[in-house]
């Protein structure tokens, strides 16, 4: 069984937001909903040594899932391959998972009355394709694959670089790893 993960190389990301748009189009999201925002830290430093980092955010597909535990209907689920998804038929829109998610990755869809989130483009992954945001990233800043496959690019990057996970101190064990070129300046 695969263990899907994503590595985001912030040294490559230029903050073009094409992943945000590709995700929004693929998932047919309303105007006021975004699964994949790209935030910007900086510019920091003193001229001429200025630095800026763009950080694509998405569902972290945690190993210890506070959102799944919080869901009273059993609509939030974690598959064996690590993908956390929502069974929309079961969701009642109580927003317990929205509040439980430390990453703000879940959004309440007012039109449908349910909560929605990034599911690593489950429909595409099941057909052997990569998520739309990864496909649309022309800088190759997003890398998706099987962590348990030592030959996969994600496994190689994770093992060869110093990667960090956001809010790792909460113990949720995210499956999204960041390569920070400028981690010292992130704080």
């Amino acid at each position: 069984m695969a263990r899907y993960a994503m590595v985001i190389d912030t040294r490559r990301c230029i903050g073009c937001q094409s992943c945000t748009v590709a995700c929004k189009v693929h998932n047919e999201l309303p105007v006021d909903m975004i699964y994949n925002p790209v935030t910007t830290v900086g510019p920091t430093g003193v001229f001429p040594n200025l630095h800026m980092v763009h950080i694509p955010l998405l569902c972290m597909h945690c190993e210890n899932t506070p959102c799944v535990d919080a869901c009273p209907t059993g609509a939030s689920l974690r598959r064996e391959d690590g993908i956390v998804w929502i069974d929309e038929k079961k969701c009642v829109g109580c927003k317990a998972c929205v509040m439980a998610c430390p990453y703000g990755a879940r959004i309440f869809n007012q039109e449908k009355g349910i909560v929605q989130k990034c599911d690593f483009c489950l429909d595409r992954v099941e057909k052997g394709n990569i998520p739309r945001c990864v496909q649309s990233c022309h800088q190759k800043a997003r890398i998706f694959g099987d962590l348990d496959d030592p030959n996969s690019e994600v496994a190689k990057l994770k093992n060869s670089h110093h990667t960090v996970r956001l809010l790792d101190e909460l113990g949720s064990k995210p499956s999204v790893f960041y390569i920070y070129g400028l981690e010292a300046r992130m704080k």
């Binding site: 950080i55 309440f108 113990g171």
Partner: protein, 318 residues
């Protein structure tokens, strides 16, 4: 962009309030019946406990995005919301059955052993219902104002204060409707020592509440993370400070303490009303405080740039 996307609304705060009020009223009625004897709390108060929980459950359903699918919240035993939903259901049933024993024309009103069992169920389910909202909030690791066991204690305390205030008020209302009791339809609680002592006990609990809240805000302000301190600052001199200090602390805690020290039942009932109002304000403010999340790098700047107040435009756009 509407805040409805990522936070709970006022109806959930109202659910927490009514669940706490009703749960504590049932627990108090059950404890009084088990350990102090028959008719220690008014029949109206006993019924009101169950009805308040039902009102809270109704508001919880209305808060859902798909209210007609509400039955699904009973499905995941691992979720604390499911645990709360089941306990609210049991508490409503146990509370209504227990309260019915106070109506003497009902044929089962003389079955003392059954009433005692129901009183025990009221204590168990009432305590759980009064406490679970605090536990639910305390487990949110990334919500700095909620996280930690302190909020559970504050919710429990507030539930019992509003519960006691609810019984004071119900006792007063029943006292004013004594013609109904004189007809012999319901058990009289006029000579109840519990009802007589509740105002002073409530005043003492309100004093505890004042001290606990001061400590809670102080600890959070000097707390573990910067975000925790920022979240607490909103209560001291931020956007929640006026409602907290004037509405909850002054009107909902200090004024009721003074009023409940008088000896007149009418003044007690005004104090009880204010204590209940304070509980409602507190729940609303605590739920509002959940807006504060531990931000990810750059997220605060990103969110500050999202459009605000464009709901009408988006409605037309759709």
């Amino acid at each position: 962009m509407s805040r409805k996307h990522d936070e709970w609304g006022w109806m959930l705060a109202a659910d927490f309030f009514f669940a706490g009020l009703g749960g504590a009223m049932l627990a108090i009625a059950g404890i009084a019946d088990l350990f102090l004897g028959d008719a220690q709390t008014s029949v109206l108060g006993n019924f009101a406990g169950a009805i308040f929980i039902a009102i809270g459950a109704g508001l919880l359903i209305l808060e859902l995005g798909r209210p007609f699918q509400a039955f699904r919240v009973f499905m995941n035993p691992k979720s604390i919301l499911t645990f709360g939903a089941w306990n609210m259901t049991f508490a409503i049933i146990a509370g209504l059955l227990f309260a019915s024993f106070g109506i003497t024309i009902l044929p089962w009103s003389g079955f003392i052993l059954v009433r005692k069992f129901l009183a025990a169920f009221c204590v168990i389910f009432g305590l759980v219902v009064a406490t679970y909202p605090g536990v639910l909030l305390a487990r949110h690791k990334a919500r700095p104002f909620w996280n930690g066991p302190g909020i559970m204690v504050l919710f429990f305390l507030s539930s019992f204060i509003t519960g006691m205030a609810g019984h004071i008020l119900s006792g007063y209302v029943i006292g004013e409707s004594s013609w109904f009791i004189a007809e012999g339809y319901i058990v009289s609680s006029f000579s109840s020592l519990v009802l007589q002592d509740l105002p002073h006990l409530t005043a003492i609990m309100l004093l505890f509440q004042l001290i606990f809240w001061a400590g809670y805000i102080w600890i959070k302000r000097s707390g573990g993370t910067e975000r925790e301190a920022e979240a607490a600052q909103r209560w001291v001199n931020g956007d929640l400070s006026a409602s907290f200090q004037l509405g909850f602390i002054l009107l909902g805690t200090i004024v009721p303490i003074v009023l409940l020290l008088f000896t007149t039942p009418a003044i007690h009932s005004v104090g009880a009303c204010l204590a209940i109002l304070g509980g409602a304000i507190m729940r609303y403010l605590v739920v509002r405080a959940g807006e504060d999340r531990t931000w990810l790098p750059g997220e605060q700047k990103y969110r500050s740039r999202l459009p605000v107040g464009d709901e009408e435009f988006l409605k037309v756009w759709k």
